[in-house]
Every structure is written in structure tokens, then in C-alpha cells.
Subunit: 487 residues, 2 copies
């Protein structure tokens, strides 16, 4: 069955919907600071007016494979560590300024022994639904600073409110969507639970509200409410306090006492260092010496890192490319059931390296023969834009052949498009949108022994953007927070 159409509202009804959407959002924290903001004023976050259809089976598959993905990445780190480290050494060559520096910190942090073998992952696997295959395909697996878990629950609550109030119905008086069709992401409580799990294992499997979670954040974070929602939930439900610090301020504000981290002013002991910054080179640029030293300082401590350097680096595109190989998957997850394996494999698109393997030769051929099917992505983190389709041959010709290895060639997904409406700063934009489904997961594991303490699903996020914009990113103003309508 095709999805039911978007609600057909009169201009007057749509205006009612917009007022009610905006006031609910402002009353319930579905907000974001505008550019150049004052601390006392916020805007409604960019959102869609309606939920966007996604096949129920696709959604459920994405939810179902999440703990497998969690385990895959963790086993890669813990059980195939030597192999991973070889890859990362190679990656460091192509990306010395960022991946290289992170790898360097990893090496320094273990030089005198490891103080904290436990590690916390809060991951998000991003997918699009390929329109011809009607199948989720993975865009990337994010291992650091995954965002929008806070606002995702909020937009689910908002759309549920609008639906219950009849605003999606042109008669206002019945629910346009069934309750089952509009699920609300549990990401707020689940991500808070993930942090509480980290706190629990830090304290020797004891609930302890004397230790706190350190949120490492960017200065002047416009999307801070997405993070605050998690902080408030962590305090409300678990009684665990949090403390926010920028990488720039770590040196001044945090101290290390016998390997343990404390907030200087309060001497609160830090159980978990949760990064909502530090994921791209830009986060270190303001004062590179200070910020990189801060990262090393935190990494070397007894606190549980979310993520550790190794976990962060395992989210690189090169790893994603290598993990598209069935043989590799079987090695890393030897006990995987066949249906699970097939489910995992079906989420992959073709990703090829430019190296001297057979795959590399294939990449060099396809990039010129069928560029429309591909996107060229730099292995380097946060560096420049992706190269799309027909721009690929010209680009490759322009650069030296020895630099091709700095890129991977990734099969493009042809996502379903929908004529949803985007609401931004009171304006409604009615264009084709494409949506990315992100599924959150949390995992506590021992980086030394490979023991997995807990491995959980943690809700989801739907992010949408105009079909015409190749790059997403809600905070950057190109996309918006959405929610699923399951059909």
C-alpha cells in the first residue's frame, strides 16, 4: 500500500497548523539559537510541518540491525585491534592534520598503560531509503558527537500533539494518522540511559549520583538545547548531574588527581567524558595547542570516554568501506546468524577505495565510465565537500593520481522524495525533500578484553532537506528535524 497523501489543508487551516506548531515548539523546547544569538532568545528549530512517510519494514530493519552495528564496530576495535590500527596508520597519512593527530593522541594515551579499559559508545547509523530497491542503505556510521537525539523526541511529541488535536485533518476532528503510524523516538530517555550506564560501570556497577558526566561542547553552540534535553533527563530520571565545558576551557576548569578527573571548582568526580565537540578539525582550530592537549588530557584519564579515540576513528569512511566486505563481517562477527548477516549486508552500498587492489582498479574505471552513480568522498574528516556525479572525472583528472587514495568512491543512493513542507523562521517552503533516517544505539564495552557490558537501541532521528541541496546538516541551516510516518 502506498502512503496516504500529506494532509490537504486550506490556507486558513495551514495557518492554524503553523501557529500551533510554533507555539508548541517554543513551549516545549523544540528550539535552536539563531545565528549571532543572545542567550535569552530562541527560534523554533527548523522542522517539517508533517511527518514524512517511510516504509514500516525499512524502519524496522534499521532499528533491528542497530545492535548488530554496535557490536560490529566494537568487535572491530577490540578483537581486530591490530588490523584496525594498521588501517588508522594509513589513514593518518592521508589526513595528518586530524585523523593523524587523533591517532597520535591514542598512542600517547596508552604509552604509560591504560587507566580505563571501559568505553562508552553513543552511535548513530544514518540511512536513506533507496527508491528502486525500497531498501535502507547506509550513508554513514557515526561514532562521535551524534546529535538531534534530544530534538527528535520533541518533534515526535509535537506531531503527536498536532495529530491528536486534529490539526492534520481538514475537518480538524479526527486523527489523520493512527497512533501506530506516528511513533515517538525514545532517544532522549535512551541516550540519557546510555550516559547513566557509563556512570554505572565507572562506579563498579553501582548507581552513584556523586559522580557527574562531563559534556564537552563547542563554544556558542546554537544547538545546545538538543544537548540540554539529555542533561535534564539524566538529572530527572537518574539524579546524575552534568557539567559543560569547551575544549578550550578544559585546562582551566578540569583537574586530574591520581588519574581521576574532577571539576576544579566543585571537586565533582567525572565518570563519563561525553563529546559533543571534537569531531572535526574545526573544533580544534581556535587554539590548537590548548585543544589538542585537552583531548589528550581527557583521554589519558580514568574517566570513561564517549567515545574513546579508537572508537571515534573507527567511524571513518575508510573503515566503512572496508566493512562492506562480507568476509570481513564474518571475521568480526563470527557468530552472526545468516539472516542477520543478510540484513546487515543489504544495508550496504558499494564503496570502493582508490588503491592497488582489484577494487581500486574497479573504482578507477567506474569513476570515469559511470560517474552519475557515485559520489567521491575525501577520507579526511571535515575537509571540503563531496564531489558528485559528472564532476568526478574532471576532479580526478585535475589532481595528481597519487592523491586519489585520499578518496573513496561511494555508490549514490536514489532516495525517495516527498513533497513535505519545511517550516523555518516562520516561512513555509514547499519543495521536494529527501530524508535521512538515523538510528541511535548505546554500548558499554571493555576496549581491552572485548567484553560488551550492555548493547542497546536508543531511538531514532529523521532529518530532511531539500532535494536540491546535496549537503545536509540541520544546524547549518540546510536541513530540518522531521519524524517518521510508518506505512
Amino acid at each position: 500500500m502506498p502512503p496516504k497523501p500529506f494532509p490537504q489543508l486550506s490556507p486558513h487551516q495551514e495557518n492554524d497548523l503553523i501557529i500551533n506548531t510554533q507555539q508548541w515548539a517554543l513551549s516545549n523546547g523544540l528550539v535552536m539559537y539563531p545565528p549571532n544569538f543572545e542567550l535569552f532568545q530562541v527560534n523554533v528549530a527548523p522542522i517539517t510541518l508533517f511527518p514524512t512517510p517511510i516504509l514500516k519494514s525499512s524502519f524496522e530493519q534499521a532499528i533491528k540491525v542497530q545492535t548488530l552495528y554496535n557490536e560490529l564496530y566494537i568487535n572491530l576495535i577490540t578483537k581486530r585491534k591490530e588490523w584496525l590500527i594498521d588501517i588508522l596508520k594509513n589513514l593518518a597519512e592521508f589526513d595528518p592534520d586530524f585523523s593523524g593527530k587523533l591517532f597520535d593522541i591514542y598512542q600517547k594515551s596508552i604509552a604509560d598503560g591504560v587507566l580505563q579499559p571501559l568505553s562508552l559508545g553513543i552511535f548513530r547509523s544514518d540511512y536513506m531509503v533507496d527508491s528502486s530497491a525500497q531498501q535502507i542503505k547506509q550513508i554513514e556510521f557515526n561514532t562521535v558527537s551524534v546529535s538531534f537525539g534530544g530534538l527528535s523526541t520533541k518533534i515526535g511529541q509535537l506531531q503527536s500533539f498536532l495529530n491528536s488535536s486534529g490539526f492534520y485533518d481538514d475537518k480538524y476532528n479526527f486523527k489523520y494518522y493512527g497512533n501506530d503510524e506516528l511513533p515517538i523516538s525514545t532517544s532522549v530517555s535512551d541516550i540519557a540511559q546510555g550516559l547513566a550506564d557509563g556512570n554505572f560501570y565507572y562506579n563498579g556497577e553501582v548507581e552513584n549520583t556523586d559522580t557527574i558526566v562531563l559534556f564537552v561542547v563547542q563554544p556558542n553552540e546554537r544547538n545546545c538545547f538538543d544537548q540540554r534535553i539529555i542533561e535534564y533527563e539524566l538529572l530527572r530520571k537518574h539524579g546524575i548531574r552534568s557539567f559543560r565545558v569547551t575544549l578550550e576551557d578544559v585546562d582551566e576548569v578540569i583537574t586530574n588527581n591520581n588519574g581521576k578527573l574532577y571539576v576544579k571548582s566543585t571537586m565533582d568526580e567525572i565518570s563519563v567524558v561525553y563529546y559533543r565537540s571534537g569531531y572535526g578539525p574545526g573544533d580544534y582550530d581556535s587554539d590548537p595547542q590548548k585543544t589538542w592537549n585537552a583531548r589528550l588530557f581527557l583521554e589519558k584519564s580514568h574517566a570513561i570516554k564517549c567515545p574513546s579515540i579508537l572508537t571515534q576513528l573507527s567511524g571513518s569512511k575508510k573503515i566503512q568501506q572496508l566493512l562492506t566486505d562480507e568476509t570481513v563481517i564474518k571475521q568480526i562477527l563470527p557468530n552472526i546468524a545468516n539472516d542477520e548477516l543478510q540484513s546487515l549486508l543489504s544495508t550496504f552500498v558499494r564503496i570502493l577505495p582508490f588503491d592497488d587492489t582489484q577494487q581500486g582498479q574497479e573504482a578507477a574505471k567506474l569513476a570515469f565510465q559511470e560517474p552519475e552513480k557515485f559520489v567521491l568522498k575525501p577520507q579526511r574528516e571535515g575537509g571540503g565537500n563531496n564531489i558528485y556525479k559528472s564532476d568526478i572525472p574532471e576532479f580526478l583528472n585535475k589532481i595528481s593520481k597519487k592523491d586519489w587514495g585520499a578518496y573513496i568512491l561511494m555508490e549514490l543512493i536514489n532516495p525517495q522524495t516527498f513533497q513535505n513542507k519545511i517550516l523555518r523562521n516562520g516561512q513555509v517552503y514547499h519543495e521536494n525533500i529527501v530524508s535521512e533516517l538515523g538510528v541511535f544505539g548505546t554500548i558499554v564495552f571493555d576496549e581491552q578484553t572485548g567484553a560488551i557490558k550492555c548493547n542497546k537501541n536508543a531511538g531514532w532521528l529523521l532529518r530532511s532537506k531539500f532535494e536540491t541541496s546535496d549537503e545536509g546538516g540541520v544546524a547549518a541551516g540546510f536541513g530540518c528535524v522531521d519524524n517518521v510516518y510508518l506505512y
Copy 2:
């Protein structure tokens, strides 16, 4: 025991407190539209940084007498109706443009019989603590459109969050206030419950989520989030939807079918007409014919009014003056216990009329001999400012003696002052403040038989303003939302 001092924070700590205060407020709907607003952007509501001390015994007395006050006003309306109507006729003479028009609507509404004998009151009794008597003294009893029940719960939650997080402590690491010292107002859930009670009795004592509550609101209401919070709670907890309309739009949007009110577009039946507008002459000025007709149209219907015209008019200053008489109280509440009576009487200040009674002669004398002890208030609603202290004799001399009857003379309260801090638009103001404690109550009653269906407390509000400003009013920018610290 005196209250403990306000938290003594370093400039750095106060800055942390301010950031955390503002971000909690923006993330949790403790917000207000700024002047000339866009619908997608809000500011933190004006609030105090710290809770303000109030004697626990004073607070408890105010809570305790609320249901007595509810009953007093209801019995006045139902059991002393003829007397009340005589007073209101007289009041109409002094205030023909507003009280007179309301009274006229009352008469028209009953001319063809009463469709709905049941009435809902959502009241707020406002007090100050007199500094010499250490006793609450009533400023006024509000019977229509009482506000800040929504934001009051929010600031309680905010200050509780700040306290739990250690932000009030100069070491950040313990609760500066005990949990018992910082109660959170239950006004959100209690006022929503009051509306749900109205819906319940409208439907013959049956819970019915097919009928809705009509919120009659001002156009471009800056404080709409205070109302929205109640609407969301009403839906969340009781499954009862609401619909917002301005007096100007009633004619276009609402219809009467056999006496019952319906929203035209949805044919949702309206159980309760809840006024958050219509309480002052200004609310009718935009298009007097339309707005006054709307009021009559709603009053004549089968819906339960919150409040009915009679209930609204019983909140006038003239009634408050008459109710300061012990004999009158005993007549209206014949079964009142002596300790209850004493408790009620102790909340009164002296209020005198300018009429030909002995009290009137006393007023004329005191106004000239001891003006510093009094404020002169017009009986007219929403008309001009109060006249304070030494300005009174000059004012009375200026106007014709036959117009004196348009005023009452009210003993001034000498309120306690505290050096709290007010946060408005990111700026901190550190001045002496005075605070007004408002106690909410809800009551469903039969205006014909006098039967009281339910009579409940409904939380509280603390509002503070600079000592230097005589007139309060948070939305107008003169005051701010506060919460109690009980000592």
C-alpha cells in the same frame, strides 16, 4: 528564625547561574513573546534569579483560606444575589462603560431564562506580607482571567533544578535550599483539573473528551505560553482538547445550535468558555459592537462560563470593600468556624467607601489626615492609575465631591522587601523588590441553587517587582515571575 541570606555567588558563579537559568527556561517553556514579536521567536520570561523568602506560616495561611474565599464569593453570588445585584447596579452607575455594560449583558442573558446554571470559577487571591504584622494581607480577589498559573509551575521547576544542580551554592555541590523550602506550585495541573471539572459537570458528571474548552484570548497575546501550558496539560492528562478564539472572531468562528456552542469548522461542542480576555475595557475597544455582542452570545449559551458575568463582577473592588465587614462575612458564611473566621478577617486591610455611611465619613477624614497610610482606587475597572499617599488630598480636592463615590480608600500594606535579583532580557537588576503571593482556587457551582459541586486549591504564584514601581504586571514589563522560599 530569619530566612537564610540570598546565595552569595562570585561573578563567575553568577554568570554560570544565569546561563543555566536561561537555557533551562528556553528549553522548558518559561518564555514570553517580546514586544512586536514574530511567532517563531521567544525570550526568557522576566524572572527572579533566586526564590524570595516568605514566612512558612503566612504561606500556609494563604493556602488554607483559599477554599473559604472561593466559598465566600460563590455564596455571595448564589445566596445573596439580590444584595449583590443592588451593589452591581450602583457600581454600573460609577462605571457605565465597563461594569455597566457587563451588568447589562447579565440582565439580557437571563431575560429568556438561564440555559446553564452551572458556573466555573478559577480564582486567584493576591496577598502581600505586611512587614510589621508579619501577616498576609489581601490586595485583591481576582475572579476572571487569572494568569501565570502556567509559568508559576515552570519557575518552581527551574529553581528546583538550579538548587539540585548546586548552582545556588558557592561550592556548587550541595543544595542551598532544602526540598521542603522550595515547593513547586501545582497550578498547571490544578487549573487544568479545574477546566476538566467544568467539562465533567457540563457532561452530566461524565468524562467526555468529545467536548472541548474554548479559550477566549486577546489578539497577539505575548503571554500565550502561560495559557498554552494549561492547554497541553488539559490534553495530556485529561484528553480534552481546546480551541483558541479572540472576542473579535467569536462571531465568525463559533456557532450556537439549540443553545449549545460549537466551533463552526469542526462542529466540536464547547463545554467551557474560559476567558483569558474580556476582563478589562481595553479588551472590547477594537470593535466594541462585535466584542460586546460576542460576550453576550457566549453568556447566553449552554456552555459553562469561566467566569459568568456575575462571577466576574463579584471581583470588583466595591465588593471587596463590603466583604471586609465581619457581619457580612457571617451572613454569607453562616457555618464558618470561629478560627476560620478569624483567619479570614486577619487577611483584610481596612477598605472604606466614600458614601454617606459612617465608614464614608471616616474615609473622608482619613484621606486628609493620614493619607500616607492609604491608596485611593477607582471602582472603575482598568481605568487610570491608583492614587498613592500624599497625592490623595490634592486629588480629592481637584475633583467634584459628588465623584468621590467612584473611589474606595484602601489601607496600604507595608510589604517586606528583599534584595533579590531580577533577570530580564539577559540583564540582571539588583534592587529591592516587593512580592505578591497569589493563591489559585477552582470551584464549580450552581448559580441558581448555590450548590457547590467542587471547591479546590490550585497552587500559587509569586510575582515580584521593584520596590520603586507602584504598579505591577509581569507582561507589561514591570514585574517578574518568582517563587517562594519558605522559612
